[in-house]
Every structure is written in C-alpha cells, then in structure tokens.
Point group: C2
C-alpha cells in the first residue's frame, strides 16, 4: 500500500509535471539562449542562470555544452522539417494549395519563434560536417509529391519554369527572408514591432497570389 502510493507519486512526477522537471527547465532555457545568441556566443552560465539552476546540473544532465546544443539543434531542425514534409507529400493538394499551406504555416510558426530561421541557417553553415545528413531530405523533399506534380505540370506546359527548386527557393525566400532581415527592413519602414507583425500576417494572403503569378510567366 505504501509502495503503491509511492509508485503513483513518482509516475505523476514523471508524466504530469514533466514540464517543470529540472532537466526540462534546462532544455527550455538552453533553447532560448542558443537560439538567441548562437552556439559560440552562449556560455553555459547563461543557460544555468536562465533556467534558475546550478551550473553543475547542466553537466549532470547533459554531459557537455556541445551535447546539449546538438540535442536542441536536432529538435529544432526536426520541428521545422516535419511540417514541410507533410505538406509537400500531400497527394490530395495541388501545387497552389501547397504553396498556400507553407506560407500560412511557417509565417505563424516563425512569429511564435522568430529566431528559428537565422539560428538554423547560421549554425548549419558551421556544422557543415553532417547535421543535414541526419535528415531524410531527399525522401522528404526531392522525392515528394510536390516535386513530381511540378515536373508533370512543367511537361504539360502549365508552368513556365521547369525547375521546381527555383519555385521552392522563391517561396521560402518570400516567407523566411522578411524575418531574418527584420532588423534592417523594419528600420527602413520606420515601423513598430506590432506594425511589422501585421505586415507579416498580410503576407499569408499575398504570397500565394505572388507565387501563382510567377508560375505563369515566361
């Protein structure tokens, strides 16, 4: 009876309070600091302070700064790619639908977590070694329903540029660049954070229109 009570309490601790676990607090703090400052510029002490824990606990739970970073990086890239794969491989939706879905999803996504793009792109540049190799990019993207649909449309003369990679980089550029260029672009526009955010939300409707127009021109 006493044993059973103890067991239940431990289970509750593991499952219900998972978000307030020390380990989890460290991970969340690490995510915040790493995404803000990048790997090289963050000190393990910053993370400990942000998490409100003792520095030694970071090494106790995650062994090293690098291992903790790799974990955060993997989760972040995975979180980013997952939806991409879902959308691009939807056999039911058209090319236009997919573009709209990507714009809508990623604009909302990045507004929630604005540092994700610049973080991923600048860390991948250094981590040339083999971070991307751990993700099934060719399966998820190159061999996607989208790429097949696009090639078919090009052969049928329904789109004018035959390379689907141009289309994908255009779409992602229109969605992502305004966020990574925000410090500069917002200053050019003389806008508040709120105004800039609204402009990004506008683009959920505008980008599908623009990319559809791009599909039809010589």
């Amino acid at each position: 009876m006493q044993k059973e009570t103890k067991y239940i309490m431990e289970k509750a601790k593991e499952e219900k309070k998972l978000d307030t676990t020390t380990e989890e607090k460290i991970k969340q703090a690490a995510r915040k600091v790493f995404l803000q400052k990048g790997y090289a510029a963050t000190r393990t002490r910053d993370i400990a302070e942000e998490a409100g824990i003792n520095l030694a606990l970071l090494n106790y739970y995650f062994r090293s700064k690098e291992k903790l970073f790799d974990l955060i990086m993997m989760e972040t890239v995975a979180g980013f790619m997952q939806t991409m794969g879902m959308i691009l491989n939807n056999e039911q939706s058209s090319i236009e639908d997919k573009a709209e879905a990507i714009a809508a999803h990623y604009i909302d996504f990045i507004i929630q977590d604005p540092n994700v793009p610049i973080f991923m792109l600048s860390e991948i540049r250094n981590n040339v070694d083999g971070l991307l190799e751990k993700f099934p990019i060719r399966q998820l993207v190159s061999n996607s329903a989208f790429f097949r649909q696009y090639r078919e449309a090009a052969e049928a003369g329904k789109v004018t540029e035959s390379n689907p990679l141009h289309f994908l980089m255009n779409l992602l550029g229109l969605v992502i660049f305004p966020f990574i260029g925000q410090p500069m672009l917002q200053r050019i526009g003389g806008m508040t954070d709120h105004q800039y955010r609204n402009m990004m939300l506008e683009r959920k409707k505008l980008i599908p229109i623009w990319v559809n127009a791009m599909l039809k021109v010589t």
Copy 2:
C-alpha cells in the same frame, strides 16, 4: 633633396604597396575569418595565422579584437549599402530597371563573397544596439527615388500592392535567400557547387521577370 627622396618613398609605401602592408594583411585575414565563422567563434589566433603575422601585431595595429571586428563590420555593411543607395536613387531608371539592376549586381556580388549576407544578418541580430543607426538608411532607402516612384505607380493603379516595402523584401528575398539557404537547398537539389552557381546566375534573368509579374496581380 634627401628630404624629398624620403618623402617620395614614404608616399610610395603608403599608396602603391598598400595591399601588402602588415596592417592591410591583418585586415584582409580578419575579414576572411570573421565572415566565415562570425565574431564569437573566431579567435585572434586564427586571424594572426591566416595573415601570417605574429599575434601581438593584431593588438598593436587594432587595439582589440572588438575594434577590429567593428571596422570589418562597418566596411562590409557600407559596401553592401552603397550600391543599393545608388540604384534606388537613380532618377532616370524605372522601377523595373531598378529591380533588374539589384538582381544583377547582388547576385554577382554575393557569388564573389558568399558569406556576406549570413554574416551581416546574423551579426546585426546581436549588435542590436546601434550598428544600423550609423547608416543613413532612411535617406538612402525610405526617401529614395524608388519609394517615390513606387507610390506614384500605386496611386496611378499601375501596381496592385501599395506598400513598396513588400516589393523590396520580396526582391531581396528572391536574390539573397538562395545563398543563405544554400547548404540546405543545394542538398535538396543534389547539385554540385558549380551547378548551384549556374542556377544563381540563371536567376539574374528570372528574378526581373518574376517581380514584374508580381507587380501586376491582385
């Protein structure tokens, strides 16, 4: 007579040999390493080694790592903005001409120095304090001939989206994003460096067509 000879020699040293000066060698090395790895990840020893000079000379000429970085950063941003200002403030050229000029110039420019965009954008993110404040952005961009022309065209119903900032961020996104996303995009396409470079060169012609199409749609 002796004085004059000495003067001539010093002048020659200053003007002709300027590129092989120790000071200049350090600057060039610093530029290379900073742009590749970012401020936090570069060590002054890396720069000294790259320049083939003694570490102490770096501090002798530039006082500190941070001062040297600030110099490189300022020159890089200035070099980037200068042509932008020239193109946007050309009273003779049309909106379409300007888009074409920007695409052509910056694609060539970034191919020569591929790290410039991700370097600028990721360092500006940290340097929130006041790097951009040192540049006359509003004068160069917000009050440019381009912004005026665009607003006039919008009023005359010749372009469908009335905010020139949308147009500018679209154009820059189409030009710049494929470079900062290269590690990911090149992998998706399964391309060699050479093939990717050719694709970027293609875009000098394609981007003007695309942005013109975007100008005309609802």
